[in-house]
């Protein structure tokens, strides 16, 4: 067996793959072969490194050099310069935006400095398609420990002590959930992994499945042992082909090694896992809807109780946890609840993975201890707002969450603080907005999403959200009244109070939180008929500065509706009645003569 002196890790997450990371791997291997170094340098495709903004990422080991935005053409340079000559390829290094200095070691990058990686411990470190790499990182040892050294109730006790809460959004204590499922006796029970990640802009579950599928398999088996289930089901979005692929490979390998199947590690415990595919319904993230979908029905939620722990899949006790929750389990078992519950805040233990996106410098996936402040996340890890603009709001919790503002920047992030601030943890989407985002439009964006994803079963969600959305549209078109704003608030409150499932009950949060935090902006839309962010088209009008216009006709030629008139070499004018406010003219004008009023 070759003894590699050097490992080259290439990110194979969906984001980096989209930027041809597979080609980078091929090229690296080809150049290495050409140089006869294929036995000295190993090229490994790993899961997501998290720093998607700068992808594709290539990491050189053992000297820990972190290359960003690598192209397939860079492969030759990396081999010839870095590998052969030992010289760092400077132009591929990350540049610290603070001081413009190159940083080669990811540990010294702001993006990674404050992160603690528990759920993502193996992402970007191992080859997810190779079980041996997982095992050499201690994979399945937690399962082995449970099966040989712990009774099921000990396992539950350990999880309870750890203080782990559900990472899918609700934050229900995981240990308690397991305990309820374990106490319901039945001939068959099920462990379900909820991998129907649907929040637009959150992709941590996918990254974990792509980067470290074995940790999920191991955790599900541990859960099965704890609650007395022999069957596991992963409900995964069909839109995640890569994650499906890697999970299937991992399940196959685990079976080959006897880590799934009958009599695992000689303990007499049987457990196996099957995949079930989601088919594009956000509401299936709700556990009762998910179960109906797995049963081959419309994914409509039903009222709880009965909880799945009592009557779930096929009417049997079923424990549903989300991917990230499961990813924490093996570590808790190995390192102990005491180790885990030292991280985080009083009521929210451990870490949380967030998908940092929006108008921020460092878009990507981060794992931070509970209790970190938004300021640290946005400015230290996220590298601040893009193009030096001003921070306006951050949306957490996706369509179920709300918008937080400057006044929340120093609030420690945990389940309870976010709810108190009118948002929620959700699955961990964190979208940062600057002054170019209109808060009415943002609320509308989320409501449009909810309307599209509502199952239609209960009145408040089916009709109420539609009406909310229509009111927001009316406001953004400049037709709103102050009464609309009051009605908006009342309706949002009633929906929250009466909707059937978690989706409906939280769907008005984007409206309520923007009303609370950006009331002035709503009033501006309604009273002054103005959108300060310049997003609401109907509230804008285009004007040509007669002094600046030289009559080049570029705007008139590019106007799709012929709204611009004027003689050549004479100042032009816009017929506002015809103008559709597409902005084509403004982009074409080289003289800065056109402005939005």
């Amino acid at each position: 067996m070759a003894k590699y002196k050097m490992h080259v890790l290439v990110c194979g997450g969906t984001g980096c793959k989209a930027s041809q990371s597979a080609q980078i791997v091929d090229n690296l291997k080809a150049v290495l072969a050409e140089k006869g170094m294929q036995d000295e340098v190993q090229v490994i495709t790993t899961g997501c490194f998290g720093f998607c903004e700068k992808g594709p990422i290539v990491k050189m080991m053992p000297d820990n050099t972190f290359y960003t935005q690598v192209t397939p053409e860079d492969a030759r340079t990396i081999v010839e310069e870095h590998i052969i000559k030992g010289r760092k390829v400077t132009n591929l290094l990350y540049t610290d935006p603070e001081n413009n200095e190159h940083v080669s070691d990811s540990k010294h990058m702001g993006f990674y400095k404050k992160q603690i990686r528990i759920a993502l411990r193996n992402c970007g470190f191992i080859d997810p398609e190779n079980i041996d790499e997982s095992i050499s990182r201690g994979g399945y040892e937690a399962l082995g420990k449970c099966l040989t050294e712990m009774k099921p109730e000990d396992v539950i006790q350990e999880i309870k002590l750890s203080g782990l809460r559900g990472r899918g959004g609700g934050g229900f204590p995981t240990g308690l959930k397991w305990e309820i499922a374990s106490k319901n006796h039945a001939d068959q029970k099920y462990v379900v992994c909820n991998a129907d990640e649907g929040d637009p802009g959150a992709f941590m579950d996918r990254s974990i499945m792509e980067g470290d599928p074995h940790s999920i398999i191991e955790a599900m088996a541990i859960c099965g042992y704890a609650i007395g289930a022999t069957k596991g089901l992963v409900y995964i979005r069909a839109e995640y082909p890569l994650a499906i692929d890697r999970l299937q490979i991992a399940i196959r390998q685990a079976r080959e090694y006897g880590l799934l199947g009958q009599d695992i590690m000689g303990s007499g415990f049987d457990f196996d896992i099957e995949l079930r595919y989601g088919a594009g319904a956000f509401v299936c993230g709700e556990e009762t809807a998910l179960i109906h979908s797995m049963e081959g029905k419309r994914g409509e939620p039903t009222f709880k109780p009965p909880f799945p722990a009592v009557s779930g899949y096929l009417g049997k006790p079923t424990n549903v946890n989300n991917v990230e929750t499961f990813a924490n389990i093996p570590v808790i078992i190995t390192k102990g609840a005491d180790w885990f519950n030292k991280i985080g805040t009083e009521k929210s233990k451990g870490t949380k993975v967030f998908a940092l996106a929006g108008q921020i410098n460092n878009v990507g996936l981060i794992e931070v201890p509970m209790g970190i402040t938004l300021r640290e996340v946005i400015y230290e890890i996220g590298g601040g707002i893009k193009d030096g603009k001003e921070f306006k709001a951050v949306q957490t919790g996706g369509p179920s969450g709300g918008c937080l503002t400057k006044k929340h920047l120093d609030t420690p992030i945990d389940y309870d603080n976010l709810i108190a601030a009118g948002s929620m943890m959700g699955s961990g989407g964190m979208v940062v907005m600057d002054e170019t985002s209109c808060m009415v439009s943002i609320a509308k964006f989320y409501l449009e999403f909810t309307c599209e994803e509502s199952c239609g079963k209960c009145t408040p969600c089916r009709i109420g959200n539609k009406r909310l959305c229509e009111m927001l549209t009316k406001i953004s078109k400049g037709n709103g009244t102050m009464e609309d704003l009051y009605e908006l608030r009342n309706l949002a409150a009633v929906i929250k109070d009466t909707a059937l499932c978690g989706l409906g009950q939280t769907s008005p949060n984007p409206v309520l939180s923007t009303l609370d935090n950006f009331w002035d902006e709503y009033v501006e839309h309604v009273v002054d008929k103005k959108c300060r962010a310049g997003v609401c088209k109907s509230l804008m009008s285009y004007e040509i500065d007669q002094n600046k216009c030289v009559g080049c006709t570029a705007c008139a030629r590019n106007c799709p509706v012929g709204a611009i008139k004027g003689e050549k070499k004479m100042p032009h004018t816009i017929d506002l009645a015809v103008c559709i406010k597409c902005g084509a003219c403004i982009e074409r004008c080289k003289f800065g003569a056109i402005s939005i009023k």
Partner: protein, 588 residues
């Protein structure tokens, strides 16, 4: 037992009771809309979707749906706090914001649960303006659909799938576009619908309604060239009174006959008469098949299934095309009547077939479709021209300024008006079987039946089985209503009839015809159906003759016209055959 407080009232109920039921026990009526239960008939629709029944539970962060929330010890519930009323009103306003507010023209006006609720909550304006759902209007021969009015209570879907296993309807699409519909938004007539109309019976609003034929009938009556003959089904007389404010279970046979006469029908006859005829034919067929089977004839099939219920007939034609030789070939009483009226009676009074209009008053919507079947027409002229439901008759009576309460008791006309108690009980589940046994027993054993009240065949169970001793020959019978129950038995028979049934009665509707889709709306109050059932057996008990083969006018018509049951003439007029109407896949 669990102790709780509802609206400051201490209440004690059994564990597992919902807040809704606990409140009702305490005399507090929480309004509902989607919730629907037919007590004792295993029909429960509890999607928790409409959110009208929300209540405030102290210590809970959001409101709780009373229909789906179980009581807990020490629970403190408020059913009409300001928060609850505001939420409930807002929810109803939302429903109304996606509802064509055309109550004045709506067929459901006055019987509409949404209308009642809006009235109760004092809704005077709808603050939400926005898009309204628009769907194509659609109609079969029995059922009309106007889905713009659908409020997604899903009762029809539950009925069509869980109780009837017809599967014509399903919730489709999602979000605001969600609606209950046949596959691919096809017309209902192209679906697996069998026109039982139970979806109409449970619809709280005017989204599902019947095809109204009152105007057609009025036109025929007004036409001096037409002789209009009317027949009324057994179940109508125990329900029609409800439409005129009478107590459920009131028997209005005589008043109904009087009203029909005043409406201008030339002859007022009774489907009960042809029900007796049905027993003669079907009973004979049963005994014939038993005889053949006992004689070793492998082509004879047992059990024999009744064929009075047109919903059921369509159901097996669509779902069990391989088992068409099981049901009795006897036509339903409606069609037997039509055939006799347009042949025997028309001839007798010297009216041409074309000039006679036969109208039936039925508790049923499927009868409309049955009457239109091609096999029941002669040169395009149907044996039964129009089938009106009980509700349509009530409207007709009201339209003509008549009040059933004011009517005297009158008799049916002769000769097709005379009937026995056996015919009366056709209206209730188990009735056809009991009537058949009363006759078949005596014909088979040639002995007189001492006790003709077969209690085992009565009552509300969806499935009843019994073994009747025919003087040493045990005859195994089953009685079912609800087509899913029928499906189970059919599949069992297909698998070799392990329970050895000889005869099975099937009715599509809950409780039999008395719970038919053409009957006055029961709004989920199954005690109404029970009272109709009690009235049915009361009417039977009061009849001087209670066995079909003792009906003198039946005896007479065999003597005069048909010769013998299942003879040549009966086969021509009183029997039918069935068609494979299942869906087929054809290779291109």
């Amino acid at each position: 037992m669990v102790k709780l407080t509802i609206d400051n009232k201490p209440v004690e109920v059994a564990e597992g009771t919902t807040i809704l039921k606990a409140a009702r026990q305490a005399g507090i009526n929480i309004p509902t809309l989607c919730y629907f239960e037919l007590d004792g008939m295993k029909f429960e629709n509890k999607p928790g979707g409409c959110r009208v029944c929300v209540v405030e539970v102290e210590g809970r962060k959001n409101l709780a749906p009373a229909c789906a929330t179980d009581v807990m010890e020490g629970m403190v519930v408020h059913t009409h706090s300001a928060r609850v009323i505001n939420a409930r009103k807002t929810v109803v306003e939302l429903i109304l914001s996606d509802h064509p507010n055309d109550c004045l023209q709506c067929s459901k006006s006055g019987d509409c649960e949404l209308q009642t609720l809006a009235q109760k909550l004092g809704i005077r304006e709808i603050p939400f303006k926005g898009e309204q759902s628009t769907y194509k209007k659609d109609s079969t021969l029995s059922v009309e659909r106007d889905m713009d009015k659908c409020i997604m209570c899903r009762r029809c879907e539950t009925m069509c799938n869980k109780i009837q296993s017809v599967g014509a309807l399903s919730a489709v699409n999602r979000g605001f576009e969600a609606v209950v519909s046949p596959a691919f938004d096809q017309p209902l007539s192209e679906s697996s619908c069998i026109n039982c109309g139970q979806c109409v019976q449970v619809c709280p609003v005017g989204a599902l309604s019947l095809v109204d034929n009152v105007a057609d009938v009025m036109k025929a009556i007004a036409d001096p060239t037409k002789t209009v003959v009317v027949q009324t089904a057994p179940a109508v007389r125990v329900a029609l009174g409800e439409e005129f404010g009478m107590e459920p279970g009131s028997i209005v046979t005589g008043k109904m006959a009087a009203a029909l006469r005043r409406l201008g029908f030339n002859y007022v006859f009774d489907t009960d008469w042809s029900a007796d005829l049905t027993i003669m034919e079907e009973g004979t067929e049963l005994l014939g098949r038993i005889g053949k089977v006992l004689g070793g004839d492998k082509t004879a099939k047992l059990p024999i299934f009744t064929s009075c219920c047109p919903g059921w007939v369509s159901f097996y034609e669509k779902n069990f095309p391989d088992m068409l030789e099981y049901p009795s070939t006897a036509k339903s009483p409606q069609q037997m009547f039509g055939a006799v009226a347009k042949n025997y009676f028309a001839e007798k009074i010297g009216v041409k077939r074309e000039d006679m209009v036969v109208v039936s008053i039925m508790p049923c919507l499927a009868k409309k479709s049955e009457a239109a079947r091609e096999e029941f027409k002669v040169n395009g002229n149907p044996d039964v021209d129009f089938s009106l439901s009980t509700r349509e008759l009530a409207h007709m009576i009201k339209q003509c300024n008549l009040n059933l309460n004011d009517m005297p008791d009158e008799d049916f006309d002769s000769p097709l008006g005379e009937s026995t108690g056996a015919a009366v009980i056709f209206g209730a589940t188990g009735g056809v079987m009991e009537a058949a046994v009363r006759t078949a027993y005596e014909v088979f054993t040639k002995k007189k039946l001492d006790n003709i009240d077969f209690e085992v065949l009565r009552g509300f169970d969806g499935v009843k089985t019994a073994t009747v001793d025919f003087a040493g020959t045990p005859i195994n019978v089953a009685v079912v209503y609800g087509l899913n129950n029928a499906r189970i038995i059919m599949e069992e028979v297909r698998d070799g009839n392990p329970r050895g049934f000889h005869a099975v009665e099937v009715m599509a509707c809950p409780g039999g015809c008395i719970g038919g889709a053409g009957q006055p709306y029961h709004h989920g109050d199954s005690s109404i159906i029970r009272k109709r059932m009690e009235a049915t057996y009361r009417e039977d008990a009061g009849k001087p003759i209670r066995k079909s083969h003792e009906n003198p006018s039946i005896i007479a018509i065999y003597k005069e016209y048909f010769g013998e049951p299942c003879g040549h003439k009966s086969h021509e007029l009183l029997h039918t055959h069935y068609f494979d109407r299942s869906k087929k896949v054809e290779k291109e």
